[in-house]
């Protein structure tokens, strides 16, 4: 497939502290989502579907699992000649002190040599913790058409929520004339999605200047974008109105999973023209036993269900024993629910065993609980 001369960098370094035990041993982008995926499958599949051949994944927190996962580029079809997924942890270089990525801009700055090797015209910056489907090629067309230096993807958010976001104020031609980080009194409701297309020579120069500035936090939102605005560069806002969800908290991760059941057509993971690729687990189709019952569920192959499941997302290797009941929950791979156990409004982490007759969560609770340790059986 013809390359569009754009290289993508995915910022996947986040600690994901608000996902608590789900990110104890896993970087946030490797967290499971939607019955068979990991969060990072979304930006990687979007890249593969947008004619992008080279993707750098910037990791630093608990990178082992993510490295092993993202490094196998054939899952997303990113392994043909001239293409690849490169996992880029911080590394020691001449003249720099070995350390961590200091900020989002620093992460790219430390990998200038990597990007230069491919000599792209454009660099796409993505974050590794959002669930959405987007054609970056269309965004690039928009970028070229406007002769932009930087294009920022934005989405309209409800006005009352605007103070929580980085807000882009634009003129009639979608040119950004002001950027407000979490403004108390927003002038627009166009929130930055953290998706940027830069002309590479311009970004390269800006990163080097920023790196030399001791007062900078080396962050795209706080430093790079304001500096470019200051310099009167051409910044444009590309509006996106499809499904988009930040899954940085237990609640939002749970909600995004539930959206697959309640609003399945919004994200539409069964679109044959925009598949989300992931690793295939070689297991039989999911099995519902004669004693089992499923209602309103989203279920991956390899799940075995002898009990009842309602309004739930079930990953591969989930095993629900006879007489068990699961409602409004997300059961990650290998979760076992013992006989007679009940699970309500929960995210149950990988391979957790819920003991016989135990009860987890409550159907009336407003909160979603995360179960990351085995629950003992009740005698």
């Amino acid at each position: 497939m013809e390359n569009n001369n754009m290289l993508a960098m995915i910022l996947a370094g986040g600690r994901g502290t608000r996902l608590y035990d789900l990110t104890n041993k896993t970087a946030k982008p490797a967290v499971y989502f939607g019955g068979k995926y990991r969060i990072i499958d979304f930006p990687l599949s979007n890249c593969a579907n947008s004619n992008i051949n080279v993707v750098g994944v910037l990791t630093q927190y608990e990178p082992v699992q993510l490295n092993a996962y993202a490094g196998a580029g054939q899952r997303w079809g990113l392994d043909t000649r001239g293409s690849g997924v490169y996992v880029l942890p911080p590394s020691e270089k001449d003249g720099t002190k070995f350390g961590v990525y200091q900020g989002t801009a620093d992460a790219i700055n430390q990998n200038i040599d990597f990007i230069d090797e491919f000599n792209p015209s454009y660099v796409l910056i993505l974050s590794g913790d959002h669930i959405y489907k987007m054609d970056y090629d269309q965004m690039l067309d928009f970028h070229k058409k406007n002769d932009a230096d930087l294009t920022v993807a934005v989405r309209p958010v409800p006005w009352e929520e605007a103070p929580r976001f980085g807000i882009m104020n634009v003129d009639m031609n979608n040119r950004i004339d002001e950027f407000q980080e979490k403004p108390a009194e927003p002038k627009s409701n166009l929130a930055s999605m953290g998706i940027y297309i830069f002309d590479w020579p311009l970004l390269r120069k800006a990163l080097i200047e920023d790196a030399a500035n001791p007062d900078s936090e080396h962050d795209f939102g706080k430093n790079i974008i304001p500096a470019l605005l200051e310099a009167d560069k051409r910044l444009f806002a590309f509006s996106f109105d499809g499904y988009w969800k930040d899954v940085g908290t237990i609640d939002s991760l749970w909600e995004a999973n539930m959206d697959l059941i309640d609003h399945n057509d919004e994200l539409n993971l069964s679109d044959p023209n925009w598949k989300i690729y992931t690793s295939d687990i070689p297991l039989l189709p999911h099995y519902v036993a004669p004693t089992g019952k499923v209602e309103h569920c989203y279920i991956n192959q390899g799940a075995v269900i002898h009990g009842n499941a309602k309004d739930s997302v079930l990953f591969n290797n989930v095993d629900i024993a006879e007489g068990a009941y699961v409602e409004q929950s997300v059961l990650m791979p290998g979760v076992k629910i013992g006989k007679g156990a009940k699970v309500y409004r929960a995210i149950v982490a990988e391979k957790v065993v819920i003991g016989v007759n135990s009860v987890v969560g409550s159907p009336d609770s407003k909160d979603i609980i995360l179960v990351a340790k085995d629950v003992e059986e009740v005698k």
């Binding site: 019955g35 697959l260 039989l284 189709p285 089992g292 499923v294 569920c297």
Partner: protein, 373 residues
């Protein structure tokens, strides 16, 4: 790594599955919603450490090329292993008269070049799980010229009629290998799985070719088994095996996987059945959609009621539909309020108006590929 090359053989035309066979070779038949039959022997082989595999086929190979591709999904390192597809080559002879021996003979140069010392030949019409590496060890230890895997079965007067049966003398030495005559209730059924040295395999192919243009591998083995100085040994297989000889047995070979013991036996994380993924999303149950006693593949939308059935990838089942004891192949669409009992719905067929369709358990109704009812 096992010191054997894998040969996946085709069947002669006496094995005929009404309807389905019109559209693809047996090796490419859909199995349990997400597999094709050829996945079973290939997975058994790659799980056993065989890395040089050739799939011989006498049907339209298009689907197999697409399905097998680079074979990386079979957990084969395709730098030093491969799964080849070898369609029948004919100089004008009708395809049904091109024997397996002819096909091996046409490929004899490549087989000679293969570095392995043994060959393991496996069929696509038996579903079983076996470690061929262990089988090879057993074969070598026995000192036999050829080993044949077999299964003792009952009900052979009515079933397995175009399969082969073996008779054995002392020490499980095979005396005859002939088509099940249907006269005995109990037979030792050949699983058409043979182990022998590559050298002997090549000799047998040449000898059979010289002997008769109509000789299949079974014929030459039957002939050799009768000779005093040639030892063919029967090795019993003890696990479950499903045989496919016709439409009814194809249906039951699928439906038997709904038996939980069978399902767990084959759904073995240490012995996976590999197939080509098509990256479909998980399956969604919407409205009053539900399933009981069923295997449901990914990518389906279930709004109806599914009982005792196998549902292939990407099937749509409309609201109010009732599916009982059916085999729905990938991409089928069942409209609202349709009632289907004992029906095989082939790929991409659509039952779109309110309809009641019923076959018999012993004689399922077959809806052809892309047919619209």
């Amino acid at each position: 790594m096992a010191n054997a090359m894998g040969i996946i053989a085709y069947n002669d035309s006496s094995l005929y599955v009404r309807g389905i066979e019109k559209y693809r070779p047996l090796a490419a038949f859909s199995y349990v919603g997400r597999y094709r039959l050829v996945d079973i022997p290939i997975s058994n082989m790659t799980n056993s450490g065989l890395e040089e595999i050739d799939v011989y086929t006498n049907g339209d190979p298009k689907v197999l090329f697409d399905h097998i591709g680079s074979a990386r999904h079979y957990n084969i390192n395709n730098k030093h292993g491969h799964v080849g597809i070898i369609p029948v080559f004919t100089d004008g002879t009708p395809v049904e008269y091109v024997t397996d021996i002819d096909s091996y003979y046409n490929n004899i140069y490549n087989i000679e070049q293969d570095p392995n010392d043994y060959v393991i030949i496996a069929p696509v019409n038996f579903i079983y799980k076996i470690n061929y590496s262990d089988l090879l060890d057993q074969h070598i230890a026995s000192g036999a010229d050829v080993s044949v895997l077999y299964k003792d079965v009952d009900g052979a007067r009515m079933n397995y009629l175009n399969n082969f049966a073996i008779t054995m003398g002392t020490n499980k030495m095979v005396e005859t290998l002939v088509r099940n005559p249907g006269t005995e209730e109990h037979i030792s059924m050949s699983l058409s799985t043979y182990v022998m040295s590559k050298k002997l395999f090549l000799e047998l192919v040449r000898e059979a070719k010289a002997y008769s243009a109509l000789y299949w591998m079974t014929d030459i083995l039957n002939l050799k088994a009768s000779q005093e100085d040639f030892k063919v040994k029967g090795i019993p297989y003890r696990g479950p095996v499903f045989s496919i000889n016709d439409l009814r047995s194809y249906f039951s070979a699928n439906m038997l996987m709904l038996n939980e013991e069978n399902m767990r036996f084959f759904n073995d994380p240490d012995w996976p059945i590999y197939t080509r993924t098509n990256d479909s999303s998980p399956t969604i149950y919407v409205g009053n959609g539900t399933a009981q006693g069923a295997l449901i593949s990914n990518g389906c939308t279930v709004a109806g009621d599914v009982r005792n059935s196998i549902v292939g990838r990407g099937v749509k089942i409309g609201a109010g539909a009732h599916i009982d004891n059916c085999l729905l192949m990938p991409g089928a669409e069942i409209g609202e309020n349709a009632i289907l009992t004992n029906v095989i719905v082939d790929k991409d067929a659509r039952i779109i108006h309110k309809k009641e369709l019923a076959g018999y358990e012993e004689d399922p109704l077959y809806i052809a590929r892309r047919e619209v009812v």
